[in-house]
Amino acid sequence: MWAYILRRLAYNVPVYLSILLLVMLALRVRDPVFGRLPKNATTADIAQKRVELGIDRPFHQQFGSQLKQVATATFDEISWDYPGQTVGEVMSRCIGPSLSITLPSLVLTTLFSITVALISAWFRGRALDKGLVFVAVLGMSVSFLVYIIFGQYYGAYKLNEWLGYDVFAIYYNPEVSNAGWGEFFTSVWPRYYLLPVLISVVVAMGYDTRFYRAVMVEESARDYIVTATAKGASQSRIMFIHMLKNAMIPIITRVVITIPFLITGSFLLESYFGIPGMGNQLIVAVESGDFPIVQSFTAVFAAVYIASNLLTDVLYALVDPRVRLS
């Protein structure tokens, strides 16, 4: 198995290099200097700025420097938008807020979706199943943005008005970033993060439920289910033991694939609720042309993505007795 892992990693090296290359080239299509200098900048000013930003160096040097940061996992280049802060520092302060949304969201969505999918599969073809699928399709036909806007309006603004006190904050308060762990879990998270998490769960459930349902329905049509019924197993045993263990394979695959997205954060949610997470930061950096941040964030993400792909394959081999890694 280790041979397989090493081989896969080796194979992915050219891919990773090309990702970095693609991102860095794409960024350099637009000259970053002009946004950062006043209109009447002289040529000397421009040249100096270029040195300051480090883009006067030949491209392969810039590429090499970025690669080194990734390889040693020390992101010490200085962010252009936050002078004095390294990219590493920016990342570490942004990852917390992002995870506070994405991690609970993943857990809750998966739990709820699997439950709903099980219900749907149990009553397959009947009114409840059709109803749930229908609701899922309806839900998927509305833009995420609309859910956020209405969620913010009714969930925070209107709810607070109706109850008379602030249950959910409409917008993030930067001061709470410094809260200690205890305070974080009891008062900061519910007030600032719960609503975005709920919105995110509602949106994601439509897609996940349909996928899990399809997996379960496919499994429940298999011959071994009939065999189990003929042996006298009850429906719940068939569903939760026989079918679920088979269905777990694609389910686990899907959950693991989502892991990289835990660190990107949902930039829409972060943007609307003012949460200082990775997603929001990344988009801001793209727009303002903060090369170090964009490059390093993308580099980290791509690495996690490739790693989780590999993890999926390994897990597959562990969970499904039929699979042998070649």
């Binding site: 009939v226 189990a228 042996k231 197993a233 007795p321």
Partner: protein, 341 residues
């Protein structure tokens, strides 16, 4: 195919005990084109220790019949006739609740299926799956169950049963898997084993082994076997009596010897004639077939369902539905003009 048949003539003479009695079984399905009746008024008896063959071409309703006996058809679209009875002992299985049904499945009646490659759960070991049957229906403890599983594997002639206990289905060949399935079915010593085309998906040599195995087990344990097949050769080798089905109905019932030597129903006669023969006499002759096709379930004739393809067709056949008539001992036939010799 050899034309000699095995007969256990002793089984015919003295008192025979009923294992299962099917009376007026009618099974219909709700579809978006209305109620479709796959099995109409099927009746037959299965006696203890015997092998009864249920024969017919694809789509004649034999699988639906067998699944109806164990109520394995999807609940909310299946409708049974109001006077359909399946008597196991003195109980009507059709009236059983789900719970009671689960108690007899795998316990008093067991079933094995056509596709051994997909019949076993791929993510559990053989041992676990056999153990499950025992866990559900017996009160044996873990150690005893393990012993019994190894015994069963041995009984179905799987070499190295101890090692096989921890193996997964994909590690076994098709023939092996079918043996495991048989072992699973016989684990709790059922009174009845329904075998739905158990050898169709296996090659001929394995087929012979499996059939022999089933016969041996039947003789040893006294389990009655309902063997469903379309292969007359298999019937000849294994069964004591035969029930022939066509288009959802029973058209003939007889002992194996009577059926092959004196078929009464035109369909049975045509079937036997269409079996390819070898030998000098047969050289140059065309293969016999039965013209026409089985009528669609949505469009069944009101009178004799075979009339369209029958070579002894008479006007009455298109007007009146023939009844299943018992005309001698074990023999019944559903025809206005059966051949009696």
């Amino acid at each position: 195919m050899s034309t000699t048949t095995t007969q256990s003539s002793e089984a015919k003479t003295t008192t025979r005990e009923l294992a299962l009695s099917v009376q007026n079984l009618t099974t219909s399905f709700r579809s978006d084109r209305g109620l479709v009746t796959a099995v109409s008024n099927v009746s037959f008896d299965l006696f203890k220790g015997e092998a009864l063959g249920l024969v017919g071409e694809s789509g004649c309703g034999k699988s639906v019949t067998s699944k109806s006996l164990m109520r394995l058809l999807p609940e909310h679209v299946t409708r049974y006739g109001s006077d359909s009875k399946v008597m196991l002992g003195s109980d009507n299985v059709m009236k059983y609740s789900n719970r009671e049904m689960r108690k007899i499945r795998g316990n008093r009646i067991a079933m094995i299926f056509q596709e051994p490659m997909t019949a076993l759960n791929p993510v559990f070991t053989i041992g676990w799956q056999l153990d499950e049957a025992l866990r559900h229906h017996t009160k044996l403890n873990r150690a005893d169950r393990r012993k019994r599983v190894v015994e069963l594997l041995d009984m179905v002639e799987i070499p190295n049963p101890d090692k096989r206990y921890g193996e997964y289905p994909h590690q076994l060949s098709g023939g092996m898997r079918q043996r495991v399935v048989i072992a699973m079915a016989l684990a709790c010593e059922p009174e009845i084993l329904i075998a739905d085309e158990p050898t169709t998906a296996l090659d001929v040599t394995i087929q012979a082994q499996i059939l022999r195995l089933m016969n041996d087990l039947r003789e040893r344990t006294g389990t009655a076997i309902l063997l469903i097949t379309h292969d007359l050769g298999v019937v000849a080798q294994t069964c004591d009596r035969v029930v022939v089905m066509y288009a959802g109905q029973v058209v003939e019932q007889a002992s194996v010897g009577d059926l092959f030597h004196n078929p009464s129903h035109p369909y049975t006669r045509a079937l036997l004639q269409s079996i390819p023969r070898s030998g000098k006499k047969e050289k140059g002759k065309r293969l016999a077939t039965i013209d026409g096709i089985v009528p669609s379930l949505l469009d069944m004739p009101k009178a004799c369902r075979f009339a369209e393809r029958c070579d002894c067709r008479q006007p009455q056949c298109d007007v009146e539905m023939p009844e299943l008539v018992n005309f001698s001992g074990d023999r019944s036939v559903r025809c206005h003009f059966p051949v009696h010799k």
